[in-house]
Amino acid sequence: MNAWANIKTITKRELAAYFSSPLAYIFIVIFLLLCGFFTFMVGGFFERGEASLVRPFFDWHPWFYLFLVPAVGMRLWAEERRVGTLELLLTMPITTWQAIVGKFLASWLFLALALALTFPVVMTVNYLGTPDNGVIFCGYIGSWLMAGAYLAISCITSAMTRTQVVSFIVSVVVCLFFILAGFPPVINMLESWARPWMVDTIASFSVITHFEGFQKGVLDSRDIIFFLSLIGFSLFTTSVILRTHRAG
């Protein structure tokens, strides 16, 4: 009960911090512009002639997030360490876990908001045809979970450094690995020399592989568990890093 109150307090503060700087607005505008441009222009939404968002819309999300989510997550801990407020925060009567979860939730809710603001795309497809809105909803859930996984990785890199730029670059590289592991051209290349079980193992680490199911409207518990465990593991790693830093 008490723990939840602490998490809520931190989440509230972090969310307010996003909106007190231009970063939040810039992020949302860029995200929406990218979504619109890629869906309607590059993705060939109109040419397809089908009432679906899978290919033209959700396919791009792993790539948008690659750059946008580390930008959202990079300040979480790096900024606290740079300014010195980390010392303040971690000597308050809250556990490190409450601080980590509070901060993560704030950023994740922020990403949820950005994602929710893409609703005109859904309205458009509903106006033009009769899509399966269940599938679209599933896609949104998957997209949000995937954003959460990227974000948790950004938490790790942000806790590792006091420079936001370093955090950004490292998390882009790590997230890129999680995309490429399931990217068809990479899979094809691997298949030419690696054994099938190795290819499967590598591909099973990919966010693309796991996002696929959601796009088709399948809520597979394995996919959900994959994203949630990636988040859980990353946040745990963050706590270990924070503890190591304090131990000197």
Binding site: I10, A16, A17, L90, T91, M92, P93, R246, G248
Partner: protein, 326 residues
């Protein structure tokens, strides 16, 4: 309230804090002195639970800061070095956040924020963003944060750093007043603050406690403590010196200043004549024109330098000129 036992912290091979023990009770203000890098901040970080000790224990109000960290932290108000605060928030927002995370809600929160704002004179900047504050205001904002929950224990790392003389005076007064009901540790390297606010002081150097006592006790360790400074006119230095060294109470003399018509001399007493020296000099000085005669209380900065820089020329420069008898 605060019990530190055999506390040590090693960063790699370097022992920043090396086995220090002390305790602070309610109603005490402990001044924590030491040169830069002596281990003051590291000790305070261990007391507040920010970094775990390599060895030893700290307990606050009976709670071990490692084992029962949360309970211990509830009792502590902490002002870290450089007074960090969330720059994107307003002063009011920041203090409200700190009150909330301390478990204060609704009316209690409002009252706590108001009290802290009044005590730290922050009314005029209440709705200004922390980023735009001057250093003094930012410092006081962080100070307000540390007292927002009216804690039993206050740990203040250089609370007067970056303040102007008036603000320094205010903060010292605040610390002294709060010290009547709380246990307070504060670090500083401004020695006059020890007199202004502390009931006890500890000097640490290279991670070890080198002196521990009330400001008066520490001053006693000074070389000049108990010595008499005398300024007379109408007598030569040599004649004065000769007369003084004949006294049974005098150990040696040092000429501080010699002008054509007046001489200033410091007279050091032999052991166990404290209090008698000034009157014996006054008796011997019949016929001279005494402009000044007073007993030195000792100087904290002499003590500080003697203790923390034993190898260098920490002795007063005047000894070079001194004429030593015995």
């Amino acid at each position: 309230m605060i019990k530190v036992h055999n506390l040590a912290k090693a960063f790699g091979a370097k022992r920043a804090v090396d086995g220090i023990s002390f305790s602070v009770e309610r109603g005490e203000v402990l001044g924590f002195l030491g040169p830069n890098g002596a281990g003051k901040s590291t000790t305070m970080r261990m007391i507040t639970g920010f970094i775990p000790p390599t060895e030893g224990t700290v307990s606050v109000g009976g709670f071990d800061v490692v084992e029962n960290s949360i309970q211990a932290r509830r009792l502590i108000g902490y002002l870290p070095e450089n007074a960090p605060a969330y720059t994107d928030m307003t002063v009011f927002g920041f203090l409200s956040f700190c009150a909330e995370i301390r478990g204060l809600r609704g009316d209690a929160k409002k009252k706590a924020v108001q009290r802290a704002v009044e005590m730290c004179f922050l009314e005029s900047v209440l709705h200004q963003s922390v980023e735009t504050l001057s250093k003094g205001y930012r410092h006081r904002t962080c100070f307000a944060q540390s007292i927002i929950h009216d804690p039993d224990v206050l740990v203040l790392d250089e609370p007067t750093d970056g303040l102007d003389p008036n603000q320094k005076h205010e903060v010292r007064g605040l610390i002294r007043r709060m010290g009547e009901k709380k246990a307070i540790i504060f670090s500083t390297h401004i020695l006059e603050e020890v007199d202004a606010a502390c009931s006890r002081a500890i000097i640490i150097d290279r991670g070890k406690i080198v002196a521990n006592g009330t400001p008066a006790q520490l001053r006693q360790k000074s070389e000049s403590a108990g010595a008499v400074t005398l300024r007379v006119s109408g007598v030569t230095a040599a004649a004065l010196n000769q007369k003084l060294t004949q006294l049974s109470t005098v150990k040696r003399t040092a000429i501080l200043n010699e002008e054509t018509t007046r001489v200033t001399v410091r007279v050091f007493p032999r052991a166990n004549v404290n209090g008698m020296l000034a009157s014996s000099i006054a008796d011997a000085a019949q016929g001279w024109h005494i402009e000044e005669l007073h007993t030195e209380e000792g100087r904290l900065d002499d003590v500080f330098r003697n203790i923390t820089m034993p190898d260098t020329e920490a002795k007063p420069v005047t000894t070079e000129k001194s004429t030593t008898a015995n």
